[in-house]
């Protein structure tokens, strides 16, 4: 079986290798350029005060991001679904469609060996390919991660580290299972694309933030505290005297930290704008720092709910693990169906 898979896929593997080489060439050339600029920026800012030279500081906040490399980073989101559609979906479906499954299965090969060899080799190839792309993107993003500290954010988290490997394994398994169940390549490709996008949207928007219980830190109204490094801030705002979060999605032209002034205690509203409660603070008629210190005296505090940056690799591991487990379940379904349904 290994020989057959090798003979059948060697051309596609050669093409995949050439594409990977092209990707690597662009990302490396551009990445070294970005790294050089970042290092000269670092040495230029070495003398600047700590508040400006730290991550996100004004001295370091210069545009060093290479356009081409960044485009490739964004495009690399497509790697897993494309692998699932081009390698996963046809892996069994195309064999059933053309009848070559019947040819192989009437040689001396069991269905389990047939499926296991094909799936095993292609799954490994896809994981390696996606892993290589991700390694390049992760390396390229080094300066950007240091400068902007946003590797934990959506659209960064999913193109770096090991998550792309989990996505690729999942996309492959989804394509394989869809192909086994539908027995036709084109519908299997469609299901792979739809299923992959649907699952990722669900996971990104609803599941990832709950992988570990978030941390909430409460500080005084005058504190400038914010979580360190690449921490992922989920929510932040004001707590009133009884510890209830204030409505930060209020609507009005006159707001303190997103809260409409008329929802604040009456005593503090007076500081907001002497004589003109509807005038925006920016017009200068009010005194925001007076409002804030008034709120502090009234027992108001600030809160920040976040996933600490130190959890980055734990999140990478948990998310990848979940995608691999879902892939294993899909492959188990494929194996059951192949064994129990007519070939």
């Amino acid at each position: 079986m290994t020989f057959l898979v090798w003979r059948q896929y060697r051309l596609q593997w050669a093409i995949a290798l050439a594409l990977l080489a092209a990707f690597a060439a662009v990302e490396l050339v551009n990445g070294f350029q970005v790294a050089r600029e970042w290092h000269s920026l670092l040495s230029a800012c070495a003398a600047a005060p700590a508040s400006q030279a730290g991550p996100g500081g004004s001295c370091l906040n210069q545009n060093i991001i290479g356009l081409v490399g960044n485009d490739l980073r964004i495009l690399s989101v497509l790697v897993p679904p494309v692998l699932g559609m081009l390698w996963g979906a046809p892996l069994i479906a195309h064999e059933l469609e053309t009848g070559t499954a019947g040819f192989v299965l009437t040689q001396g090969v069991t269905r389990t060996r047939w499926l296991a060899t094909r799936v095993g080799i292609l799954l490994l190839t896809a994981a390696l390919w996606a892993g290589a792309i991700s390694a390049l993107v992760t390396w390229w993003s080094g300066p950007e991660n240091a400068q902007r500290a946003d590797a934990f954010q959506a659209n960064y988290f999913d193109t770096q580290g090991i998550t792309p490997i989990g996505y690729a394994v999942f996309a492959m398994a989804l394509g394989i299972a869809a192909g086994v169940l539908l027995r036709r390549t084109i519908p299997a490709i469609a299901v792979t694309l739809g299923g992959f996008i649907g699952f990722r949207l669900f996971f990104d928007d609803f599941a990832r933030q709950h992988l570990m219980p978030a941390v909430t830190t409460v500080t005084s109204m005058t504190s400038m505290w914010s979580p360190r490094g690449i921490s992922w801030v989920l929510n932040s705002g004001m707590l009133n005297a009884s510890g209830q979060p204030m409505n930060v999605n209020g609507f009005g032209s006159y707001m303190i930290d997103g809260v409409p002034v008329n929802e604040l205690p009456a005593a503090c509203q007076a500081h907001a704008a002497s004589g003109n409660p509807s005038a925006p603070i920016s017009t200068g008629s009010g005194n925001p720092s007076a409002v804030i210190s008034c709120l502090g005296k009234a027992g108001f505090r600030q809160f920040t709910t976040y996933q600490p940056g130190s959890r980055y690799w734990a999140f990478q591991g948990i998310e990848t693990g979940i995608y691999v487990l879902v892939a294993a379940a899909l492959l188990a379904v494929a194996w059951y169906v192949i064994r129990h349904r007519d070939a």
Binding site: M1, T2, F3, L4, R7, Q8, T98, G99, T100, G102, F103, V104, L105, T106, Q107, G108, V109, T110, R111, D342, A343
Partner: protein, 264 residues
């Protein structure tokens, strides 16, 4: 002649797809060493029967015994059975030489030199993609690959349907050659619509119509019996006449009164 062992024996073999029976209560036997013809109108269940005999498909009910074993996806069973599907599925971008190597990796018993010799004799290139060969050449590649397993049973699903008369003759000649070469240890079941071919090479007949077995037995015995039933004629009853008689009887009644031009 001493009674021969049975290569195939099925009993009440039934296959339903959802509610529709593709094959119903099929009980047939094929003695070893025979070339058996499997005939019947389109949709009679010929392909269904062959696929169940080689283990690609599971019967809904009934049993099949093929070379003394139950057909299943097991290397030991599969080593003895060669199956050629109707569309002759091969990896079309691979050459015959590649496919010979593939077969060697997939089978415990594999006679690569048999394929090479045969394809060499037929002037079929080993290094050209089989998708680029002619239909006749491709069918010879497919048949040679099946023969390379040195099977004891060959199941061929309408192998000559798409071939021109000359390619058909070559193909059938290969089958009779293989049977003669095996000295009675190779059994062949071949489905076909071409009654003239069947009359020439087959000595056993299975007639399916409307998902059921209408006839099964030695061709000469069946003809003799049919002659007895229909009464003596001026000349021998032909195979075609007998087969059409049975097919007609199980066709929808609306067709029965229709006669093609020239029939009385």
């Amino acid at each position: 002649m001493a009674p021969r062992a049975l290569a195939i024996e099925t009993s009440g073999l039934t296959k339903r797809f959802r509610r529709v029976a593709a094959l119903n209560d099929c009980s047939v036997t094929v003695p070893e060493g025979k070339i058996a013809a499997l005939i019947g109108p389109n949709g009679a269940g010929k392909t269904t029967l062959l696929r169940m005999l080689c283990g690609l498909s599971e019967p809904t009910a009934g049993t099949a015994s093929v070379l003394g074993a139950t057909p299943r996806q097991d290397p030991k069973f599969l080593a003895q059975v060669g199956f050629l599907a109707q569309e002759m599925p091969l990896y079309r971008r691979m050459s015959a030489g590649d496919l010979i190597k593939v077969g060697a990796h997939l089978n415990s018993r594999w006679d690569a030199s048999l394929v090479r010799t045969r394809l060499g004799e037929l002037d079929i290139p080993l290094d050209r993609a089989v998708g680029k060969l002619s239909g006749g050449q491709r069918s010879q590649v497919a048949l040679s690959l099946v023969l390379a397993k040195r099977p004891r049973l060959l199941l061929l699903d309408e192998p000559v349907a798409a071939l021109d008369p000359l390619a058909r003759r070559h193909f059938l000649a290969t089958i009779t050659w293989a049977v003669a070469e095996s000295e009675g240890s190779l059994t062949v079941v071949l489905s076909s619509h071409l009654l003239a071919d069947i009359e020439r090479i087959c000595d056993h007949l299975i007639l399916l119509a409307a998902s059921q077995v209408q006839l099964c037995g030695d061709t000469r015995d069946l003809l003799a019996e049919h002659e007895k039933l229909t009464g003596p004629r001026a000349q021998d009853v032909s195979l075609e006449e007998m087969v059409l008689g049975y097919m007609d009887a199980s066709a929808p009644s609306a067709y029965r009164d229709l006669k093609t031009v020239g029939e009385q």
